[in-house]
């Protein structure tokens, strides 16, 4: 049961972090919550599709299909998050020029929110489905594995709820800044993770491992898992991974700076 708790908690926490930070950020912008329904449908549908076709997926591209699917989902999430951050200053500008209380949320932004959250959830949900089915239901361990999965998911979702309300508690202005910072870190982590998958599947060279900090923080420990979810922590990063991480993080921080500058010039921009 403990294994089920740890595995499911790890997956749920990763997905919840992206979704809850995006939800808080979009809430501060004044977006409606209608995008949550398509996200849920797309995520559950996508995850079921992924889990039931795992064998076919794995067989693609000389047995590297699963890695490539993961890369696709990670890049989709990371790039959507960066695109979302890119849109934020423009949204505030529109708000100011139109003189409305809330920033007008465009359909493009809703689409980005849906894509980022759904892509982040598909992989994690699929892993949970596969684990619960193969280690639980199919091996006669349904009760302990399902109980563990429920506990792990419950703890993960609860933490997500606290992250969401914690961000909202900061007030709209700081919520936007803090969520932009978190989204920047998450997207950089996801893009570097995608690079790692590409290296693992042989699409990128990556012979050079920069360091091994496994002795300090093991990837499988709880702090390691949390750092992995939040910062994309890797105990043995390659040079490509680090480059992608630094470049995407620098880009995200540039966008954050732009957002803060925009908030600064607008006297009452989303100030609570």
């Amino acid at each position: 049961m403990i294994d089920a708790v740890v595995i499911v908690l790890r997956e749920v926490l990763e997905a919840m972090l992206v979704c809850c930070v995006l939800l808080a950020s979009s809430y501060a912008l004044g977006a409606k919550r209608t995008w949550l329904l398509p996200v849920t449908l797309a995520a559950v549908g996508g995850a079921l599709l992924y889990a039931t076709n795992l064998a076919t997926l794995t067989a693609l591209f000389d047995g590297r299909g699963q890695e490539l699917t993961n890369v696709l989902l990670l890049v989709l999430t990371g790039a959507s998050l960066l695109f979302y951050l890119l849109q934020l200053p423009a949204m505030l500008h529109n708000k100011r020029t139109l003189g409305k209380k809330e920033a007008p949320v465009t359909s493009t932004l809703y689409a980005v929110l849906i894509i980022a959250s759904a892509a982040a959830m598909v992989r994690e949900l699929a892993e949970i489905f596969i684990y619960v089915f193969s280690y639980g239901i199919a091996s006669g361990q349904a009760v302990p594995v399902v109980s563990g999965a429920v506990i792990g998911a419950g703890v993960g979702v609860s933490l997500g709820i606290f992250i969401f309300f914690g961000l909202l508690w900061l007030g709209k202005r700081r919520c936007l800044q803090m969520s932009a910072l978190l989204l920047g870190l998450i997207s950089a982590g996801m893009l570097s993770q995608a690079t790692r998958f590409l290296v693992q599947s042989g699409f990128l060279p990556g012979e050079h491992i920069l360091w091994d900090s496994g002795w300090l923080i093991s990837e499988s420990s709880l702090p390691g898992e949390l750092l992995h979810a939040l910062l994309g922590y890797d105990a043995t990063p390659g040079i490509e991974q680090l480059t992608v991480y630094v470049v995407s993080l620098a880009f995200a921080m540039l966008l954050l700076r732009k957002l803060m500058a925009r908030q600064g010039t607008d006297g009452d921009a989303l100030r609570q």
């Binding site: 009760v143 429920v150 419950g154 703890v155 609860s158």
Partner: protein
């Protein structure tokens, strides 16, 4: 801002889940450790029991089959086989003397007293090794680790599961209780919302919880100030209009006297003529002023926020006929053709206000329709609405100004609308107010038949007429 109910429900459930699940996990680990100790004790008891036997009487290959006689179902047999403690007894030279059926022929664990991990028969085992202090023979007993773990987990899960299943039930209860706790806010909001438009009485404080008292008090304070402001405004307009009537009447009388005085004096015609003309214009001015004051009075009386609704069934056709007969001089003086079509229809409304509405629309039409022009009035039904329609052959109103013409003191001034046409600029504002008061609708358009303005007022049908 997120709803209080959602915030409380979600955070309370999240807190409950975190506390209960994390304590369940803690309980699970503790229980598993306890179960391990119990199984170890069971092994120890086996070893102690085996120690009581006399090794000299052992026969190699004997197995105990007593248990089989009390086992009835195959599932119990399976469990008993899995639970079975396997054992080996060696003499002090390390030679196997006796062993249970499913134990290996080699020693299961090292010859060293204590608990050990062992691997045989394709499973991992927990083994206890003991040496007899008397003759030094060795006793080894072992249990399968996976069986011990599964059994311990089955027992422990029985304690954890109710907590996991209970959380959704607790969630529903939290949702319901939070809603119950927030009900006074909804009740307060509903009582404020359900008030009549003009009701500015203070909110009752009897059933208001302590937390909402400051809010209720400040709302009451606001309502009092609002009522006072409304009252002041109402009094001011009414007093001003009323007080102005008297000097205007005096002015009229004085003007009449002046004209009479002028006519009785034997003045030459060239002197008299300009004086008469000036006095005529002065009279017109006084009339316009009087009209303006009357309109302000009507507007004040019919403002929806202050109007006490006293609706009665009104026959719209009859009402229009009445107003037309009063105002027919207008049409005659301008040589205008007037037509009225329609059947008797009843609406619920205030008679005086409706008369004012029809009068204002008719006078407006007559004023802006050229001499010899045409005005059509029609009364009918459209779906479940009663429609009053006025069309004229005047210049109409540009579409862009359809909204603005209902503003107070708004006057149309373009080449087609003669600025010299007398009017207070309040007529259509009054019409709009009366329309709002009756929860009716007013639409302006271009008349397809006459080319001028077409005004359409759509009233709700009188409730008793709906079935007709």
């Amino acid at each position: 801002m997120i709803s209080i109910r959602w915030f409380l429900t979600l955070t309370l459930i999240a807190l409950l889940v975190l506390v209960s699940f994390l304590s369940s996990l803690r309980g699970y680990r503790e229980s598993m450790a306890e179960a391990e100790t119990l199984f170890d004790l069971q092994l120890l008891e086996h070893v102690k029991l085996l120690g009581l036997l006399n090794p000299a009487s052992f026969l190699f290959g004997n197995t105990l089959v007593i248990a089989d006689s009390v086992i009835s179902t195959p599932a119990e047999l399976e469990l008993s086989l899995q639970l079975l403690v396997v054992y080996q007894i060696f003499d002090n030279q390390g030679k196997l003397v006796i062993r249970s059926e499913n134990s290996p022929t080699q020693n299961m664990a090292v010859f060293e007293p204590g608990y050990h991990h062992a691997e045989f028969n394709g499973y991992s085992w927990r083994a206890l090794v003991a040496q007899d202090p008397g003759d030094g023979h060795w006793i080894m007993a072992a249990q399968r680790n996976d069986v011990r773990y599964r059994l311990a987990e089955t027992v422990t899960l029985q304690a954890v599961l109710p907590g996991v299943i209970g959380v959704p039930i607790a969630g529903v209860l939290i949702w319901w209780i939070v809603g119950l706790g927030l009900r006074p806010i909804q009740t307060l909001a509903a009582s404020v919302r359900a008030r009549e438009e003009g009701d500015l009485k203070a909110v009752e404080l009897d059933d208001v919880p302590r937390e909402l008292t400051p809010l209720t008090l400040s709302t009451n304070d606001l309502l009092t100030r609002l009522a006072m402001a409304f009252d002041r405004e109402k009094r001011f307009a009414a007093d001003a209009a009323h007080e102005l009537r008297t000097p205007i009447s005096v002015l009229k009388v004085q003007l009449h006297n002046l004209l009479h005085d002028l006519n009785t004096r034997q003045l030459p015609e060239p002197v008299l003529q300009p004086a008469r003309l000036s006095l005529q214009e002065l009279g017109d001015g006084i009339d316009r002023l009087a009209h303006l004051i009357e309109q302000i009075l009507v507007l004040n009386r019919t403002a929806p926020a202050q109007y006490m609704r006293q609706f009665v069934p009104v026959d719209l056709l009859e009402l229009v006929q009445h107003v037309v007969s009063n105002e027919f001089d207008h049409f005659l003086s301008r040589d205008q053709i007037f037509s009225l079509d329609g059947l008797p229809v009843t609406i619920a409304g205030d008679k005086t206000a409706l008369q004012s509405l029809v009068q204002n629309l008719l006078i407006n039409a007559s004023k802006y329709t050229p001499v010899g022009g045409q005005i059509n009035v029609a009364i009918g039904r459209e779906g479940n609405k009663v429609v009053l329609q006025l069309e004229d052959s005047g210049p109409g109103i540009p579409e862009a100004q359809y909204e603005q013409v209902f503003d107070r003191f708004y006057r149309l001034s373009d080449e087609q609308h003669d600025v010299a046409v007398s009017g207070s600029g309040l007529g259509l504002a009054i019409v709009k107010h009366i329309v709002n008061m009756h929860e009716a609708e007013i639409r302006l358009s271009r008349s397809p038949s006459l080319g001028g303005l077409c005004v359409k007022v759509m009233f709700k049908q009188y409730p008793q007429e709906k079935s007709v």
